[in-house]
């Protein structure tokens, strides 16, 4: 549905987006991650046709955003960063205006606007002027604007920014629901959001794609992914340590606590054994020696850890 091919954007001497390529299929919810200033918003602005790329192309539903902007833009619903609105309008008149710009008129417009109001929980404020509304309502009004024409593609720049936890949850549910039938790209800094909502995530740093995969795949890239945390009693700590190091699938062992008859630590697996083989070996070892295995937990890896490792790596 969306094809981004070798996209670059130069602002003066600064290369904000550097040769990015990816594609997003229908029914996919793509999370866009990256530190502030990584080029997320710039990329989204190029996809929506707001700013022209320096190099590269974007096609949306088969239409090149540069060569056929009207057709491509008609397929997109866009929530810009900071959710800009015409403050002199009411929620309803604003949504009617955007619907009309999308070519929706008459009875269809009325029902489209009402539906968007309902989906975004705006019934209570529909007739209120936008400059009297709180940030959460303003944000959801802008979100309503992006779905009023039931677009095939949704581009949402930080859709949960500035919302309270309940509203965040509602917006996440909404994105997940819309994602089943549409193509969604959204950016965020909240990593748990990516796990909760995305079918795929791309991490951008300094204008480059540094990781691309499902949230589970990305989590497994964290250095701790697959590491087994153990707490074993019944033998001197140093003894247990040297035994653990000898296990066939262990690479290294990190000691957390070591005592007369206690060892707490983390065993790191070989690359091939992040699936739990190592945990089995540890269990076998403890059972064979009649040691008390008080804790055995496989770390499934954490996105924030992976995110930090990947983005710091690029910088150094």
């Amino acid at each position: 549905m969306i094809e981004v091919i070798r996209l670059s954007k130069q602002f003066g001497p600064k290369l904000a987006v550097d040769n990015i390529s990816f594609s997003v299929a229908k029914g996919e919810v793509l999370g866009f991650l990256g530190p502030n200033g990584a080029g997320k918003s710039t990329t989204m602005r190029m996809i929506t046709g707001f700013i022209p790329p320096t190099r590269g192309t974007v096609t949306v539903g088969g239409h090149d955003i540069q060569k056929a902007p009207i057709q491509a833009k008609a397929k997109i619903g866009y929530l810009p960063e900071n959710a800009p609105l015409y403050s002199d309008m009411t929620v309803e008149s604003f949504l009617r205006f955007t619907a009309e710009l999308r070519g929706i008129t008459g009875a269809a417009q009325k029902s489209a606007v009402n539906k968007a109001i309902e989906i975004c929980f705006l019934e209570k404020v529909a007739r209120q002027s936008l400059d009297t509304l709180s940030k959460g309502f303003r944000h959801r009004t802008c979100l309503a604007q992006s779905i009023v024409h039931d677009p095939e593609v949704l581009i949402l720049d930080e859709p949960t920014d500035g919302l309270d936890p309940n509203q965040k949850q509602e917006v996440r549910n909404l994105i997940r629901r819309l994602g089943a039938t549409k193509t969604v790209i959204f950016s965020t800094h909240i990593l748990e959001e990516v796990e909760a909502v995305c079918s795929r995530a791309i991490i951008i740093d300094q204008g480059k794609v540094v990781a691309d995969g499902t949230p589970d795949e990305l989590k497994r890239r964290a250095s701790r992914a697959g590491a087994v945390k153990v707490r074993i009693r019944g033998l001197a700590g140093s003894g247990i340590l040297s035994e653990l190091e000898k296990l066939p699938h262990a690479v290294s062992v990190e000691t957390i606590e070591s005592g007369d008859s206690l060892f707490v630590g983390r065993v790191f697996p070989k690359k091939s054994a992040i699936d739990g083989t190592l945990a089995g070996e540890i269990y076998q070892f403890a059972a064979g020696r009649q040691l008390q295995l008080q804790e055995l937990a496989v770390d499934e890896g954490r996105l924030d850890e992976m995110f930090r490792e990947i983005t710091v790596q690029v910088r150094s």
């Binding site: 602005r45 929506t48 046709g49 707001f50 700013i51 022209p52 902007p69 009207i70 057709q71 833009k73 008609a74 997109i76 866009y78 810009p80 900071n82 800009p84 609105l85 015409y86 403050s87 002199d88 309008m89 008149s93 205006f97 955007t98 009309e100 710009l101 999308r102 070519g103 802008c142 604007q145």
Partner: protein, 252 residues
């Protein structure tokens, strides 16, 4: 065409659902009428025409009031970030520009329409030339639209309405001033020979050719000339086209 209409409607709402348009119309009426009756000596002049008493002051009024209407057109969009919404809609930039420009012109038309009592008065007191009054209004409208178009262009550069207002007023002031009778008279009377003479004539041509005052003045006097029509059409189209260039290049 439909998209121009949609943008136009929203902008008209923004003008008329807020005090903006009414304040503008009120100030325009107060100033144009007081100028007409006090400085224009409308009653003492005993002349059943409106050109020297009424229309002649309009370029000076629009020099300030044109920028006052037009200053929000794009600077507001830039400041609020709504330009990002507007330009990612399936419409062209030029449709948005024309819709906005026409909405600002509607405020101007409303203000001019509200001066109708002066037509009634002049008809009651004497027997004026209707064609001349019509061409006077046309001239006034064109001078006002030209200053709005120029302001539209300036507003595309900035996110501050104040900066837009100040810069536009200065530019409009310049465009009105260079055609003022006093300045043209001064240029005509410089004693010069040879190259200086050529320069003097060129300056005179440029001042007369680019001034809102000279072209407006011809229409106020009832003279409808092709070069006047071409001037206003070219001036307004240039400003609106340049607006689209500025909007595009600001994003690149």
């Amino acid at each position: 065409m439909k998209n121009i209409w949609v943008v136009f409607k929203r902008e008209v709402q923004a003008y008329f659902l807020t005090p903006l348009a009414y304040v503008f119309i009120f100030i325009f009426l107060i100033l144009s009428m007081s100028l007409c009756f006090v400085f224009g000596r409308f009653l003492e002049g005993e002349d059943a025409s409106l050109d020297y008493t009424f229309f002649q002051f309009h370029p000076w009024l629009f020099m300030v009031l044109g920028p006052a209407i037009g200053m929000r057109l794009w600077s507001e969009e830039n400041r609020e970030g709504t330009i990002e919404l507007l330009l990612t809609m399936p419409i062209s930039t030029w449709q948005a520009i024309i819709g906005k420009f026409l909405a600002a012109c509607l405020v101007l038309v409303s203000a001019l329409a509200m001066t109708f009592p002066v037509i009634l008065t002049v008809n009651y007191l004497g027997d004026p030339d209707g064609g001349k009054i019509f061409s006077g209004y046309l001239g006034s409208l064109l001078v006002g639209s030209a200053s709005i178009a120029l302001t539209c262009l300036v507003s595309a550069f900035t996110r501050s309405q104040v900066i837009c207002l100040v810069v536009s007023v200065v530019l409009c002031f310049f465009l009105v001033l260079i055609g003022s009778p006093q300045l043209l008279e001064f240029l005509r009377n410089i004693p010069a020979t040879g190259l200086l003479e050529t320069l003097r004539l060129a300056a005179l041509e440029i001042a007369d050719g680019f001034s809102l005052m000279s072209h407006g003045g011809r229409l106020f006097g009832g003279v409808l000339r092709l070069d006047t029509a071409v001037f206003f059409a070219a001036f307004i189209s240039f400003c609106l086209y340049a607006t689209s260039v500025v909007i595009r290049s600001k994003r690149a």
